[in-house]
Symmetry: C2
Subunit: 413 residues, 2 copies
């Protein structure tokens, strides 16, 4: 809660996931030699010299040594991070899980986990001298980039698909300097967009390639570790659209293990919508990811049929770490949403309930140890969603009628 001096970043540069080439910490969308994805490298010895008690502050910049931004003047914040990790005793009992936790990302400033990656994206845009940022979004990333872009005084080009939920649309329209609605889905636009980002002086803040952006999402894992009393969970259930949250959490848990803070790396569990499940299919059937055309899903944020190179990375993590994956249909997602609300009082959006719905399937398949510590990500607030109107008759304020309603309610089981 107090003013503090941040611990400096331990980032040393970038490395290529393909050819292994190394580069300084500059703005690059992929490897100049082989066009593979780049990742940020850190001085693990410097990190290992730290202790959890050295971390200070109540935003995502608490984890500054693990993040790729050098100059604290670029530590932009709207108060993201330090979201609740809630134990779910009632829901756990229903599912037969003894140590079930929800990492609820709805309390971030724009209501989703995106604020974590946006914070490091906009910080990097400032660090590398950009005046404009752009993103392709189904709504959540767009709201977040628009908000943090406004906070930093940057121009924001937000490309949003025209079917996005109205609450997200309003949010973007209020914060973005340029909101562009497009027909079709993410997969229809992304290749055109990627080419334009190569030629324009605009910081690309999308999930598919951005190196610096993804780093912010690592903080979901550091927080989980701290909130469990400096322990890693046994399972970490995360949504996979492009794969950003999933890969970032895995990277963070591996860092914590490598520097000796955590005694293990959790088993990673990938959750997808049944309408957009190429990674679940690839893990089940073997072989590479087969991109698929996708239909509409109420879990808007998961509507990616071709997760490209980050999807391949996520699949590799699953295969090498003996991870699990499951998908959930729209009705299963809505059922998980209602169950979470009624048993624990948490109101998460459909996109945010894909992991819980997928977890329920894995429990049915007896794929998880019921005594394990399981952390399930809920990536967005229920307030981000758009639903059919509540159909319920309104009554007149009549004392006798209200008394009868209360008596009946009190008497009922």
């Amino acid at each position: 809660m107090q003013w503090y001096t941040p611990v400096p970043t331990a980032a040393t540069g970038l490395s290529c996931r393909g050819c292994g080439g190394t580069y300084p910490r500059t703005y690059m969308l992929d490897c100049p030699a082989c066009h593979s994805l780049l990742q940020v490298e850190y001085d693990l010895e410097a990190l290992a010299a730290l202790r959890p008690g050295d971390l200070r502050g109540d935003t995502l910049w608490r984890y500054a040594p693990f993040l790729p931004i050098g100059d604290p003047r670029h530590f932009i914040s709207l108060g993201e991070g330090l979201t609740p990790l809630l134990r779910l005793p009632r829901l756990g009992q229903r599912l037969g899980l003894r140590h079930l936790y929800l990492k609820f990302e709805g309390t971030n400033p724009t209501g989703t986990v995106k604020d974590r990656s946006t914070a490091t994206a906009i910080a990097a845009a400032q660090e590398f001298g950009f005046n404009a940022v752009a993103v392709v979004s189904t709504g959540n990333a767009g709201s977040s980039i628009a908000a943090y872009g406004a906070r930093a005084g940057l121009k924001t080009f937000v490309f949003c698909y025209a079917r996005a939920a109205q609450p997200k649309m309003h949010h973007m329209a209020a914060c973005a300097s340029h909101l562009i609605l497009y027909r079709g889905g993410y997969d229809d636009l992304i290749r055109i967009y990627d080419r334009l980002m190569e030629e324009m002086p605009i910081f690309e803040a999308g999930a598919s390639r951005s190196t610096y952006k993804m780093e912010g999402k690592k903080t979901i894992a550091y927080e989980t570790f701290e909130q469990l009393g400096n322990q890693a969970p046994d399972y970490f259930v995360a949504p996979v659209a492009v794969g950003e949250t999933f890969i970032a959490a895995w990277r963070a848990f591996n860092e914590l293990f490598a520097i000796g803070w955590a005694g293990k790396v959790p088993t990673m569990v990938a959750a997808q919508s049944s309408e957009a499940n190429p990674i679940v299919e690839a893990l089940r059937d073997g072989g590479p990811i087969r991109p698929r055309p996708i239909g509409y899903t109420i879990a808007e944020g998961t509507a990616v049929g071709n997760p490209e190179r980050k999807g391949e990375w996520a699949l590799q993590i699953l295969r090498e770490g003996k991870g699990l994956a499951a998908d959930a249909s729209d009705p299963e997602v809505l059922e998980a949403q209602a169950l979470l609300a009624r048993t624990e009082g948490m109101w998460a959006g459909p996109t945010g309930c894909v992991p819980l719905a997928a977890l329920r399937k894995l429990v049915t398949q007896q794929a998880l140890d019921p005594d394990a510590v399981i952390v399930c990500v809920a990536s967005e607030s229920g307030l981000k969603g758009e639903y059919a109107p509540v159909e319920r008759e309104a009554i007149e304020p009549d004392e006798a009628h209200l008394r009868a309603i209360l008596r009946e309610g009190l008497a009922a089981g």
Copy 2:
């Protein structure tokens, strides 16, 4: 972020604001002798023995010694509190204010400041052995009570006016065990409801009388104090519907002053909607509050024309402390909302923007010192609101067209 042992409550009992009678810490809706409002009393010497560094934890229960709940098993939480206090440099410059801060309550679990009072209300309901709670709400309090009631496994009777925004309605319908929609406004139902609460075994969790509930809202002031580096601000701008947040913040700042933590009590500033402004009118015109019938306002949470005894208390605070008050029309509220989004990236709901809109009026009237430290409450997330659909034409994903849009945007001012 860590597990911690809370400091025990310093609450000693209740006192009557009318006759001065004192009572033990039990469930009472008002004074049995004179029917005036009750308030919780604390052992200020015990509190004065504490230092800010003694506070632990990352929910509202960090402030347990200042709250009226004895048994830590009743410390219910969905991760409320520790909301961001954001400095607003761009907006401050626009308004000519050098030290303007926003206390953004939209990052609470249900998206509003209500979660603070709900936490102590539901905790008290458990402490006093209730199995059911009730509330009359325009939406925000109802969502919050429904959520925390579900978390505690209590029955929840939520009376909500039928015109509440759909996002709030969905939230309540998902979490409440009993959601009852009624025709008319808060003022039409509240007297009937108050009588029913006297006769039923239901914990009354409404704002008009509840003693324990209001205490949770004090935490907005303790946090502000901590986030300013253990200092009270010069002005604290809070919304007044029934007056709960306003009174609670004033009580908390007075406690901090009384125990020697704070060097001053801020000048309190009351903000109301022009559609429901009886306290602004009474302060301007002198004399008592004249209840008024009210029309619809987009700032739903402020739609109270007769704030009753808590309103009188708020007026007394304003008069005795030389406080300020201002109201804002719906267009002024929407203008403040858009300004906040565009200049600082914060998306607050209409109810939440009443204080900022009122502050702008007071600045125009030169009623505040522009060099002062001013904290303005934004009580809800913008995601709680319902707005007209965004009218914007969607384009085809065509490379040349998109390139032209980006070039034009980059070239523009």
